[in-house]
Symmetry: C2
Subunit: 547 residues, 2 copies
Amino acid sequence: MPPPDSPPRPILPGLAVLALLLLLLPPPSLSAGGGGELAYLWPLPAEFTTGADTLSVDPALALVVGGNGGGSRIVKDAFDRYKSIIFQHSGVFSIFNTFRKKASGYDIGRLRIVVRSANEELQLGVDESYTLLVTKSDGKSIIGEATIEANTVYGALRGLETFSQLCTFDYSTKLVLVHKAPWYIRDEPRFAYRGLLLDTSRHYYPIDVIKHILDSMSYAKLNVLHWHIIDEQSFPLEVPTYPKLWQGAYTRWERYTVEDAYEIVNFAKSRGIHVMPEVDVPGHAESWGKGYPELWPSTSCREPLDVSKSTTFDLISGLLSDMRKIFPFELFHLGGDEVNTDCWTSTPHVKQWLQNHNMTSKQAYEYFVLKAQEIAISKNWTPVNWEETFNAFPESLNPRTIVHNWLGAGVCPKAVAKGFKCIFSNQGFWYLDHLDVPWDQVYTAEPLEGISDASKQKLVIGGEVCMWGEITDTSNVQQTIWPRAAAAAERLWSRRDAISSGNINKTALPRLHYFRCLLNGRGVAAAPVTNQYARSQPNGPASCYAQ
Amino acid sequence: MPPPDSPPRPILPGLAVLALLLLLLPPPSLSAGGGGELAYLWPLPAEFTTGADTLSVDPALALVVGGNGGGSRIVKDAFDRYKSIIFQHSGVFSIFNTFRKKASGYDIGRLRIVVRSANEELQLGVDESYTLLVTKSDGKSIIGEATIEANTVYGALRGLETFSQLCTFDYSTKLVLVHKAPWYIRDEPRFAYRGLLLDTSRHYYPIDVIKHILDSMSYAKLNVLHWHIIDEQSFPLEVPTYPKLWQGAYTRWERYTVEDAYEIVNFAKSRGIHVMPEVDVPGHAESWGKGYPELWPSTSCREPLDVSKSTTFDLISGLLSDMRKIFPFELFHLGGDEVNTDCWTSTPHVKQWLQNHNMTSKQAYEYFVLKAQEIAISKNWTPVNWEETFNAFPESLNPRTIVHNWLGAGVCPKAVAKGFKCIFSNQGFWYLDHLDVPWDQVYTAEPLEGISDASKQKLVIGGEVCMWGEITDTSNVQQTIWPRAAAAAERLWSRRDAISSGNINKTALPRLHYFRCLLNGRGVAAAPVTNQYARSQPNGPASCYAQ
């Protein structure tokens, strides 16, 4: 740990992957040049080169758009958001009349964003690649000063985030500067699915809090909010077809209207974030029976949902039909984890039904999951299920199923070997409520561990950090998510070779310190990076960059 | 603690003080009427009456202004802010086409704000009183539907906050409703000074984080940000006349420009919040010497500031001159606490100076504090000093001094007995970094304890909760401030008789639970109320209203 008054040391990020590019260019100043200035990016782009220029950015930075998709509202709004982030220090008014004289003009007056496609559909695997060029205009150049080129608006969003990370406020000149220009960045994500689970059943999060989390996700280029809306403790979502379901909310004030949910989906879309809702069946569903007690095997034995009644599946179908109108993402999470079937075998009418259908309770669990999958598929959803379903009946699981690993290592290798897609969330590393997992263990957890065949590797669509809500509420959710979620975000975005070699205390930790402080500067309550126990208090007075 | 699924029980707030008013009116429904609806206010207004009507509020609520000050930008901006708070759930668009049909029109379509004075000077003791009337327009009434009347824009701000707390989103009808109307509220603060100390030296807070804290203060009607800018660990503030002072910042990025500070002052003003800066001398000042080592007695003995050099006081004068341009508030905090003078007696040139001037080190401490007071007074500031100055030399302290209590009980009684004004911050109750002080001990701490003479009571200008920064940074500052700062805020705003009798677990706790959840709903990370240890995690899944 550096002494608190020394700035973090510059490092050589991803040098290995850049070797070829660097050979073709004048020697870049990756080490501290121009007064030891830093240019730290998180997550690390796929490829980039830097130079030795320092460029000033005009506080009146103008947006110039091009391409079929450049005129998108999503681009315009994002530009405005990032502009206020980049210039949060730059009031034009100076009370001491000593600053912000820039008689000679700024080096970067315009940001050109070219988006080739006008298609704004946000599907899994949507093209998020971009190139970003930041260079001084010399009058002869036809390239312009700062340019983002992308195939989709979502690539443009990622490029804007990277551009914002290049811009730093210089306290001496009171200018926003880009150090180490010219920059040439070509970037794209390693995985299509880079998720964060949020659990709004154990504790309710107000919609403004969820929006703030979505904003913070976009800073780390995470792109899936896995919304674990409902669980046994509460059912906060409005379901117009079954209006008594949200009687299962904690209180009348801790609910989401369909409009709230729709607003969250659209807010997320404007940040390039998919929202994957979860309806966890047949376990974890006790709260459903508050409004519809007939879903319980009995009032004294309430979970799993009653497998013996067709009305159970009618309700699931109605629920999913309503949700389909809100959630356009192609994936839908059906849970299926931790199902204890004791209530089925101990409740007379269910036990009788099992006998009549010649089913064991384990078979009934399979029956339930497969029936729920059929319902989801009939509504044009791809089902995602927690790994227990795969562990219990891999042969009968619908082949379209995406298996969601959580219990431990080795599940994705088995799932992809059988042709299933897989999401990696090994609880030993990527369960954020496990407060004893430090940043470096999050960082080094590798979704492709144990999978060497390239065609099988492609079936791992990505990974997800899970913010289960038992010990987390509005008061501490951001500090529990960050900075560890950022460690996973780089694992999921950046090139494996670039982030898997060398000493991560030198290649990653200084950048993560820097990114944590960047989050703080944007109002996100990211916790100290190197605490032994996540989200514990800073261990005394110090710089953000040293804790 | 109620079970997590039951709403908090209604109470009879401040009934004692309302007795007379209530006798003159039809019986109000203070108990749960209209479906058990609640109308909880925090802090409790001075006087109010309620009724039994439920009124709907138009999402297109219009602002109508009156009076010499009604046209103020402060009023217009605050109305817009509160409108988006009040209607955060109310998208006009409904994807299920079943909601928000209000063919008959809304009960409340306009909010009339009358501000009598156009004077927007924010001085200590500025009139913050207001009346708020919310009633159904019957066509015959000339009063209008919802009306705030205030003498100043700052009273109007307080009235807007109260109005926003009356408005609740009803999830069944998807309307914003005011229950228990008609409301007649006449309100004013008990104390002119209701402060929160923020320490930006032990940890740096980005300006957006400070702004968010200012917003949250306004929700509890706190009105002074005591900005403890500098301490021994870091000197983050730019001082144009002494440009090397902020070399004492932790890093080049953890600084405030004069423009940043000015922006914070103006942001605070728009919320009716004074900003009182602190320059703590002669102790707690080691960081000053990073840029100007001559301020240290020696490089090996760095605190207190060198009393023997006139340049020390020249620098203080220059510093205060620069700060005077930024901070218009009439109070300026000069610290003066915890001064260990060993460096003076152990450093040869200072020891010699003491001998030459025939001073003990204790006398030199007095000399330093009084000289700093003279400088502040010469710049038209009223000096505030921590209580050690009063404890050490009460007879020579400038009579304009405001004594800031912190060490324990009994100081304000002694200070006001000698004619000094006083601020109450007894560390046993109002130091927020003392995590073992639960909400009820914060709530019952009484600034006028031990002072019975009314003329002496007037010298206690108020109190302040102190958020010292050793174990607090951007990741956890809001959860350490809230909800306990709210307990102090009601103590400082509401009538003593109304909040000092009865069982506070019934008269205050349910409202505080409610206010904590209101803060959460506005994006403020307020912690569970009833944790034994402040800001600890929720003890399991539950409603916000039950933790």
